[in-house]
C-alpha cells in the first residue's frame, strides 16, 4: 500500500485513468499513512476518512462512466484556513473552537468540482501568523526532514507548515496553502517541496479566513513542479464572490513545462545578497544561475533598491489589516465565548483567552499604528513605500527582464523551540526577508528545491515573475528541478 502514496499527482492521474488503480485504494493508502504518521508529525488537525472514502467512491464511479475531472480521485490536504462545509475550520486558533462553516471556499469547491478527494485539514500557524508553525493552537508540526545523524526535531516552516510537511511525508498527494509574507514558499523550501504564490487576484480569497487582505493569496504545495502546475490550474478561477479576483482566463500551466529558456532574461538582484547570508545559500544561488545559463537564459544583474524596506513596511501593513480583520472574533457570532460581567468584559476576556501570543502582538501593533494621530506616520507611509517596492520591479521588467532568481530562506530548517528566535519576534520576522517583497508588490513567486545543505537538509530557490506570468515561473522552476532532482526525506516515523 505504501507504494501508492509515493505516486505524484501526474503518476496517480495516469494510473487512475488507465484503471490500473482505484481512487478508493489510493485514498485508503493515504488514510493509513496519516494514521501511522500523524502522532509524530502532527500535520493534520482533523482527518476526514468518511468524507474521503465517499468522495473516492464517487470518483471511481465517474471514472467508470468516462466522466472523470482533471483531478479525479486525487487525495489532497487542505490548510485549516480554507472554509470547508461542515468540517473543522479554525485557522488553528482557540478562538474559532468548534467552528464548522455553512459554506465552502471557492478554492476547495474548485478542487472538489475537478474530482479531488479531501483527506482532512492541515496544521498551520494561528491565523497564518508565523514562520515556524509553532504558533498553532494544536501544537507544532514536526518537519519530516532531520539533519544527518541528528534526532533533533525541526520546524517545517510556516505558516503553511502542515501543508508542506504532509506533502513531504507523503500524507497527501498535494495540499492547499496560503502566502501572506512567505507562508507557502518558506515551508516548501524547508521540506524539499514545491510551492507557488500566484499573483494577487489569480486565486479567489472567498472563504479563506482573512489575515491581511491586500497580501493574502492562496496557492498549492506539491511534490514537484508538474504537480504544482496541475493543482494551480484547478485552484485558480475568476470568481464574482471576490472583488479582487482578476478577469483573466486560467492558462494550462502544465503546457509551460519543458519549454526552452532560450532568449529569456533572468535578473539577479544584488540587494538579496544580505549581510550574514550563509555560504551555502550563496553557493546554491550561484548553482541556480549556472543551471539557467546552461538552459539558454541570459543572466543580468539587476537592482531592487527598496528591498530592505519591504519587511518593516510589511510589519505595519499586515498587522493593521489583521487588527481590522480579526475584530470579528468577539464571542458573539462564532467560536469561543468567555463570559464577563458585561458585554465589553465578555469581548475582552474572549479575545484574551482565544488568541495566542503572536496574534495578540500583531493585533496590538495594528491597533496602535491605526490609532488616532499615527495613521499617516505608519500606515500611509508604509503604503507609499509599497508603491516604491512595486516600482522597483516594474522598472526591471520594463527593461526586458523576464524573471528573477533569488534565494528563498536565509538558512535551512531550524529547531522547534529555537531560543534565539523565540526570544525576539523581529528575528523570526527576518525569516521572510526574501519572500515578503513579492506580497508587497502582488507578484508571483515559486519555491523549488535546489539541493541539500551540509546537514542534509533541503534548500530552495525562488523564481519571481511578472504579474499573471505564472507560466514563466513553472517553465523556469522546471529547468531547476530537472538539474537538481527531487528530494524525499528518509522515513523515521
Amino acid at each position: 500500500m505504501t507504494e501508492l502514496t509515493s505516486l505524484t499527482i501526474a503518476e496517480a492521474r495516469a494510473k487512475l485513468a488507465a484503471k490500473e488503480i482505484k481512487a478508493v485504494e489510493l485514498t485508503q493508502a493515504y488514510i493509513q499513512a496519516i494514521e501511522a504518521a500523524n502522532p509524530e508529525i502532527n500535520a493534520y488537525v482533523a482527518v476526514t476518512p468518511e468524507i474521503a472514502l465517499d468522495m473516492a467512491k464517487a470518483s471511481d464511479a465517474r471514472i467508470a462512466d468516462g466522466k472523470a475531472g482533471v483531478l479525479e480521485g486525487i487525495p489532497l490536504g487542505v490548510k485549516d484556513l480554507f472554509a470547508t462545509k461542515g468540517v473543522h475550520t479554525q485557522a488553528c486558533s482557540h478562538i474559532l473552537d468548534g467552528f464548522k462553516p455553512e459554506y465552502e471556499s471557492t478554492v476547495t469547491q474548485n478542487l472538489w468540482d475537478a474530482g479531488a478527494v479531501m483527506l482532512g485539514k492541515l496544521n498551520m500557524d494561528e491565523f497564518a501568523m508565523g514562520s515556524s508553525n509553532e504558533s498553532s493552537y494544536y501544537g507544532p508540526v514536526v518537519n519530516p526532514w532531520k539533519a544527518t545523524g541528528s534526532d533533533e526535531k525541526l520546524v517545517p516552516g510556516g505558516s503553511s507548515g502542515g501543508s508542506a510537511a504532509a506533502v513531504a511525508a507523503h500524507l497527501c498527494a498535494g495540499a492547499t496553502a496560503t502566502d501572506t509574507g512567505g507562508s507557502i514558499r518558506q515551508p516548501a523550501a524547508f521540506t524539499g517541496t514545491v510551492g507557488i504564490k500566484p499573483t494577487y487576484g489569480r486565486v479567489s480569497r472567498w472563504g479563506v479566513v482573512a489575515y491581511a487582505s491586500s497580501l493574502d493569496q492562496a496557492g498549492p504545495i506539491a511534490r514537484d513542479v508538474r504537480d504544482a502546475a496541475i493543482l494551480l490550474k484547478s485552484m485558480a478561477s475568476v470568481d464574482a464572490k471576490d472583488t479582487t479576483s482578476v478577469d483573466l482566463p486560467v492558462p494550462d500551466y502544465e503546457a509551460a513545462l519543458g519549454q526552452s529558456l532560450k532568449g529569456m532574461k533572468i535578473g539577479i538582484p544584488k540587494e538579496y545578497r544580505v549581510e550574514g547570508m550563509s555560504d551555502e545559500i550563496e553557493k546554491l544561488w550561484a548553482q541556480g544561475i549556472a543551471w539557467l545559463k546552461d538552459a539558454g537564459a541570459e543572466i543580468v544583474d539587476i537592482s531592487l533598491p527598496h528591498t530592505k524596506y519591504a519587511l518593516p513596511a510589511y510589519y505595519i501593513v499586515a498587522p493593521a489589516e489583521a487588527s481590522s480583520n480579526l475584530a470579528r472574533y468577539d464571542g458573539v457570532r462564532y467560536g469561543l465565548r468567555v463570559d464577563g460581567k458585561d458585554i465589553a468584559d465578555m469581548y475582552e476576556k474572549t479575545r484574551a483567552e482565544g488568541f495566542g501570543k503572536e496574534v495578540k502582538r500583531r493585533i496590538m501593533v495594528g491597533t496602535y499604528v491605526l490609532s488616532a494621530g499615527y495613521y499617516d506616520a505608519y500606515y500611509l507611509k508604509a503604503q507609499k513605500v509599497r508603491t516604491l517596492i512595486k516600482r522597483d520591479f516594474e522598472t526591471v521588467f520594463n527593461a526586458g527582464v523576464d524573471a528573477i532568481l533569488a534565494p528563498i530562506t536565509p538558512s535551512s530548517a531550524f529547531a522547534i523551540g529555537d531560543k534565539e528566535l523565540a526570544a525576539d519576534p523581529v528575528k523570526m520576522y527576518l525569516q521572510d526577508v526574501f519572500t515578503i517583497t513579492l506580497n508587497m508588490a502582488g507578484l508571483p513567486g515559486i519555491s523549488v528545491p535546489a539541493g541539500l545543505d551540509s546537514k542534509g537538509l533541503p534548500l530552495g530557490l525562488q523564481v519571481i515573475g511578472k504579474p499573471f506570468d505564472e507560466e514563466t515561473l513553472f517553465r523556469t522552476a522546471h529547468v531547476i528541478e530537472q538539474a537538481a532532482g527531487t528530494f524525499t526525506p528518509a522515513k523515521w516515523w
Partner: protein
C-alpha cells in the same frame, strides 16, 4: 516612536483584549522592538509618492444593487455560542 505601559494598556482596551499587568509589561518591550524595527522607513523619501491602494491595476468589480442572498438565518446563527430564535444572544447592554 516608542510606547509606554499606559499606551499599551490603552491600545489593548481599543483592541478589546484583556491584559494583565505582567502581560502589558512584556508587550511594551515587544511592541517597542517592532516599532524600533519599522522605524527604518523614516530613511525613505516618499515625497510625491502615491500610497498603494491596489497591487494590480484594476477597477473594483461592482454588482447590481439587488438582493442576491438571504433566507438563511438558521445557517447564519448555526455557529454562535448562544442564540435564541435566530437571534445572537449577548450580555445585557441597556438597563
Amino acid at each position: 516612536m516608542s510606547v509606554d505601559l499606559a499606551t499599551v494598556k490603552r491600545v489593548a482596551r481599543l483592541a478589546r483584549i484583556a491584559v494583565s499587568e505582567e502581560e502589558a509589561e512584556r508587550m511594551t518591550g515587544e511592541l517597542n522592538g517592532i516599532l524600533g524595527f519599522v522605524e527604518q522607513l523614516s530613511e525613505v523619501d516618499v515625497t510625491g509618492i502615491e500610497p498603494m491602494t491596489s497591487v494590480t491595476p484594476m477597477a473594483m468589480k461592482k454588482r447590481h444593487d439587488v438582493v442576491t442572498d438571504g433566507d438563511k438565518a438558521d445557517a447564519i446563527v448555526a455557529n454562535a455560542p448562544q442564540t435564541d430564535r435566530n437571534f445572537f444572544m449577548v450580555p445585557k447592554v441597556v438597563e
